[in-house]
């Protein structure tokens, strides 16, 4: 691998990301998957970096999942999105940041469609007006939340308590970065680093001390794919995709996986359990799995937040071996204690995949 | 005549005697082995035929005409025929007359088998002998005839073209030894008898030579060495005989009655096949006949070499030779001893082992699509009204012009017909059979038989000779007539149902291998063509017709290798400058069409074009 070659491509896919004043929209599903992640994002942006991130309880789904599952027509999803933009306009913001990759892709796709077919935009404006008497301005800047963490990566690094380094050997951790498909595969120019070698997560890993692993199936989908997972008959297909990815990264012995999409960390985490149950195979050391994180969780870890406050106990794959490797302090007793140290009960342990 | 030696023996008879004992025992053992290798029913049939008067007479006639007179070779080339019969018949007569001499003059020596051969050494002329001068004359005459044959044989080695042969076989080492010893026998006999002629008597040849010799070789010291040499030549010839092509002489005597008994090749190497292989005289007539031999190519892949390789058990070459052959059957047709080059090769192919074997059980034998009387039937009653099932065959599918013409003819004849394979059918099995996979071929035959029987047809009409051959030979269709379209059309014209118009177009007819040599249909197509124009013949025609080169018989010949063969076959067809080349085989038609400088048609197309008036009953 010629690193300079990648750098050259990264230099060609740079995207302008304003520093401050963002209108933030959440993901539909992340709250349930890794509830600590979005909280940590706002925590870092607002409290650590003191940036202005506005959020409104009136925003809804972007319609992306329904759109990609072919259950609603394009006009509907566009009108939903137009309403979100109206909320932004009403709040007086022009930088729009989405927590969800599908949303981000959805917004990017709609904005591009409107650019190509202005008559469609006019039609949507009419529909939005008819539906809820709202008007909107298109966002000046559209970003995914990971774009912002990427932008703040060096600032975070300067405040970091830990680095992505093996405490004992001093070696950088081997990190697999996995980008959500809708981040830049549809519009390479909308993502940091393009589609072929997206830099958004690489940049974070490099800034925080880790080494990125480049493995053959790096481009491959995590396996979620709405229509695949949501229909039980297709679920084996979803699982097979994930399996393919893990088989491909296995020889590199990665320490962890970092992702920027709601679905990816969830499926790459949970499917490791299913793969272990169905094939007896685990990918981490000593029967453990490879922990999968969202970028906010990783940012939180390096900044020194308590792992259990980050919600890492909701991961199927045990994170403790990695925490030990980095040297992050945590209290094992607190893993299944909720707020106010209330016992949230210990889950049953899987038969094959080793967990703490 | 009186005897010169009381013992009636001299040491020089030993080489001959040992040789004769050896060869006779060899032949007897060989014969027993071959007969033993025959399947029991064939063996039984053979022995019955030997005592059946009709076959007995045929055997004697055939052996006399073929082995001694070589009538087939006479038909091919007079000089070559004379060469063969002079040696064979002359030698035979020398033996016969020699025995008569012994009977007449020294009857008590009859039991000494060498006596007739060396008679002149053991006897001296007396006054009374002159009564036998006719016998003396005959002996010298036949010796002269044999010597003339030997002289021709020597000339043939140098100038084979004189004998109508462009190419001859490359003799093996033993062949050469055998040949030289054979050539030496008779001059040596002449020499020996000439040296003894003043004692034992002789006729115009030996006596005259004796006078010449005595003028400069005064004593009898040369006598014994000459007899020794004569005996040695015979001895050597007998000893090497089993390893030379001359083995054909004794084997053919066995082959003829076996063939007359109706025995066929059942095993690639044993029994009848073995008899055929050993009957090959290596004359090399098949080399010139072979259509693959264009531009001196593939000479070593002709039947004569196949036989040689089978005798040597050279498996790699046997496979190569037998797989390459086009199976046109011409070598079989012209072989003077009747070696069946094509069948021998198919037999070799049949012993191949395959890991994957066909299975047609999933193919339905479905006759439901076959519907008669789908068109207006106007033909007069009787034969013309029979239900005709037309099977175009795989190859015709690639030359749809033929099936189209056939359908048009059937319509014009007002016949009640149906197509068996309009949308593709099951292969007739002949290509599979030719590849030696008999079991698979049989399965195909069964499938088609089932369909044909279920169709309710009276006649099965074919336009592909490849199909025709296997339908005639391997199908049992319970009274359904099997007919090739050449015969069918000839019949329609003869019955006056079709009345084609005639003009002065010159047609040449190419006899397809499978139709002509394969099924013996030569006249019908010619009759048909004569009804529409002038028929000219190809240089080589009928059973000597040259294969188009497209044959499915060859398993290995590549497309590029066949071109020269096709062009050679075309050159043979156009010597009389025909306007149109007519054939009766879809494969010949498409093969010729590729390289021909003039139109090539199937006979059905020709006739269809020439019928404008349709007959209404």
């Amino acid at each position: 691998m010629i690193y300079q070659g990648k750098q050259k491509i990264w230099s060609e896919y740079q995207k302008e990301i304003p520093d401050d004043h963002w209108f933030y929209v959440r993901s539909c599903i992340r709250q349930n998957f890794f509830p600590g992640a979005e909280r940590m994002f706002l925590e870092i942006c607002r409290n650590v970096l003191k940036k202005d991130f506005y959020e409104t309880e009136h925003h809804t789904t972007c319609g992306g999942i329904a759109y990609h599952c072919d259950t609603i027509p394009q006009e509907t999803v566009m009108t939903i999105v137009a309403r979100q933009f109206a909320l932004m306009t009403e709040a007086g913001y022009e930088n729009y940041v989405a927590s969800c990759i599908t949303s981000f892709g959805n917004y990017a796709e709609i904005l591009e469609t409107w650019r190509e077919f202005p008559e469609l935009e006019t039609k949507i404006r009419e529909m939005l007006w008819k539906a809820c008497r709202r008007e909107f301005k298109k966002p000046k800047y559209l970003a995914h939340a990971s774009d912002l963490i990427y932008k703040y990566r060096n600032e975070i690094a300067s405040r970091a308590k830990y680095r992505l380094v093996n405490r004992e050997t001093g070696e950088p951790l081997k990190v697999v970065e996995h980008i959500g498909c809708h981040y830049s595969k549809m519009f390479p120019s909308k993502g940091v680093g393009g589609a072929e070698y997206p830099y958004v997560l690489c940049g974070m890993v490099e800034a925080w001390g880790g080494n990125v692993v480049d493995y053959p199936e790096r481009r491959h989908c995590c396996g979620y794919g709405f229509r695949q997972y949501h229909v039980k008959a297709n679920r084996g297909y979803s699982l097979s995709n994930t399996y393919k990815k893990f088989e491909s990264m296995e020889p590199y012995h990665p320490d962890m996986i970092i992702t920027n999409c709601p679905g990816c960390p969830y499926f790459m985490d949970r499917w490791q359990y299913v793969i272990a149950e169905s094939t007896g195979k685990t990918y981490g050391k000593d029967g453990f799995g490879i922990p999968v994180f969202t970028y906010e969780e990783v940012a939180g870890l390096v900044l020194g937040y308590d792992p259990w406050d980050l919600g890492l106990q909701l991961h199927q794959v045990a994170v403790e071996p990695l925490l030990n490797k980095i040297g992050i302090e945590y209290n094992p007793e607190d893993k299944y204690k909720g707020l106010n140290k209330k016992d949230i009960l210990k889950p049953g342990l899987p038969a094959v995949l080793k967990c703490c | 005549m009186r005897e010169r030696f009381l013992t009636g023996y001299n040491d020089f008879v030993l080489p001959f005697s040992l040789g004769l004992i050896f060869i006779i025992s060899y032949c007897v053992v060989g014969m027993i082995r071959i007969l033993h290798q025959l399947p029991a029913e064939d063996r039984k049939r053979f022995f019955i035929s030997l005592v059946t008067p009709a076959t007995m007479w045929k055997n004697i006639k055939d052996i006399f005409l073929k082995c001694l007179i070589h009538v087939d070779i006479w038909k091919r080339n007079k000089l070559l025929g004379y060469m063969h019969s002079s040696i064979a018949f002359g030698w035979f007569m020398l033996i016969v007359v020699g025995h008569i001499e012994v009977f007449l003059y020294t009857p008590h020596r009859v039991k000494l088998f060498y006596y007739p051969i060396f008679f002149r050494y053991f006897v001296a002329e007396t006054e009374s002998t002159m009564r036998g001068s006719l016998i003396f004359f005959l002996m010298d005459l036949f010796l002269l005839i044999v010597l003339s044959g030997i002289a021709l044989a020597i000339i043939k080695r140098v100038r084979s073209v004189m004998f109508g042969m462009r190419r001859t076989t490359n003799p093996s080492f033993f062949d050469l030894v055998g040949q030289y010893s054979l050539w030496a026998i008779f001059p040596l006999r002449l020499l020996a008898e000439a040296f003894t002629a003043d004692i034992s008597g002789g006729s115009f040849l030996t006596k005259s030579l004796n006078y010449v010799f005595t003028s400069f070789l005064s004593n009898h010291a040369n006598m014994l060495p000459a007899w020794w040499a004569y005996s040695c030549a015979l001895g050597i010839f007998f000893f090497v005989l089993p390893f030379t092509r001359y083995m054909h002489i004794p084997t053919e005597i066995l082959l003829i009655p076996m063939r007359n008994a109706g025995i066929k090749i059942r095993n690639a190497r044993k029994g009848f096949a073995k008899a055929e292989v050993y009957s090959c005289p290596s004359c090399g007539l098949c080399i010139d006949a072979c259509p693959m031999g264009v531009m001196k190519a593939n000479i070593k892949d002709t039947t004569v070499y196949l036989n040689r390789q089978i005798r040597r058990r050279n498996e790699a070459r046997i496979e190569e030779i037998s797989d390459k052959c086009l199976l046109c059957g011409k070598c079989t047709a012209i072989c003077p001893v009747g070696v069946e080059g094509d069948k021998l090769r198919i037999a070799q192919r049949s012993i191949r082992k395959y890991n994957l074997n066909p299975d047609y059980s999933n193919i339905p034998a479905d006759a439901s699509g076959i519907e008669f009387a789908a068109h207006e039937v106007t033909a007069p009653s009787g034969r013309a009204r029979e239900k005709i099932l037309y099977f175009a065959g795989c190859m015709t599918a690639l030359t749809p012009v033929i099936s189209k013409a056939m359908e048009s003819i059937l319509k014009k004849a007002g016949a009640d017909y149906a197509f068996m394979d309009r949308d593709g059918g099951i292969c007739c099995g002949r290509p599979m059979f030719m590849s030696g996979r008999f079991d698979a071929a049989r399965m195909l035959v069964e499938k088609n038989t089932e369909i044909i029987k279920a169709s309710g047809a009276d006649v099965l009409l074919l336009s592909c000779p490849i199909c025709y051959k296997i339908f005639r030979e391997k199908y049992h269709l319970d009274g359904i007539r099997i007919i090739h379209h050449t015969e069918y059309i000839a019949g329609l014209i003869a019955d006056g149902i079709l009345k084609p118009s005639s003009d002065d177009t010159k047609y040449v007819y190419h006899d397809p291998c499978e139709l002509g040599r394969g099924c013996g249909v030569y006249e019908a197509p010619r009759e048909v063509i004569k009804s529409v124009g002038t028929l000219v013949e190809a240089q080589k025609n009928r059973k000597e017709s040259i294969c188009c080169g497209g044959s499915l018989g060859s398993l290995t010949l590549g497309f590029d290798k066949r071109r020269a063969m096709t062009e050679n076959a075309l050159a043979n067809l156009v010597t009389e400058s025909p306007d149109i080349i007519v054939t009766a085989c879809p494969l010949c038609r498409s093969t010729f069409n590729r390289y021909s400088d003039r139109p090539v048609e199937d006979i059905a197309e020709t006739i269809d074009r020439k019928i404008t008036k349709t007959v209404k009953s």
Binding site: - | Y360, N362, G558
Partner: protein
């Protein structure tokens, strides 16, 4: 544990893992086998095609892709009629190729 779904085997052809020793042997016997341009003439004309899906084009390809089972089931119905050889624009002797495959490849292996 039965989840009601499972990892499906990859349908992809992995050329690294295909053992072509047999095919190399076949190639020695039939050098022209590499000349195929996959035009499909053979398949279109094949009388066995409508029963077993026999296609010489697929046979040649599948042998190179390690899909021998498919080859065997296709070849079952071949009648050796020779039409494929007649129509091959590259002059491949497909008929002999079929015999060579039948000789070389073993179904039970």
């Amino acid at each position: 544990m039965d989840f009601g779904f499972k990892i499906s085997p990859s349908s992809a052809i992995n050329l690294d893992k295909i053992d072509l020793t047999m095919f190399e042997k076949l190639h020695e016997m039939e050098p022209d086998v590499y000349k195929c341009i996959a035009c499909g003439s053979c398949s279109a004309t094949c009388p066995a095609a409508r029963y077993s899906g026999m296609s010489m084009r697929k046979v040649i390809l599948d042998l190179q892709r390690g899909r021998e089972k498919e080859v065997f089931s296709m070849m079952k119905n071949c009648m050796l009629c020779g039409k494929c050889t007649m129509v091959c624009p590259r002059g491949i002797n497909t008929r002999h190729l079929i015999l060579s495959i039948s000789k070389l490849y073993c179904e039970t292996k």
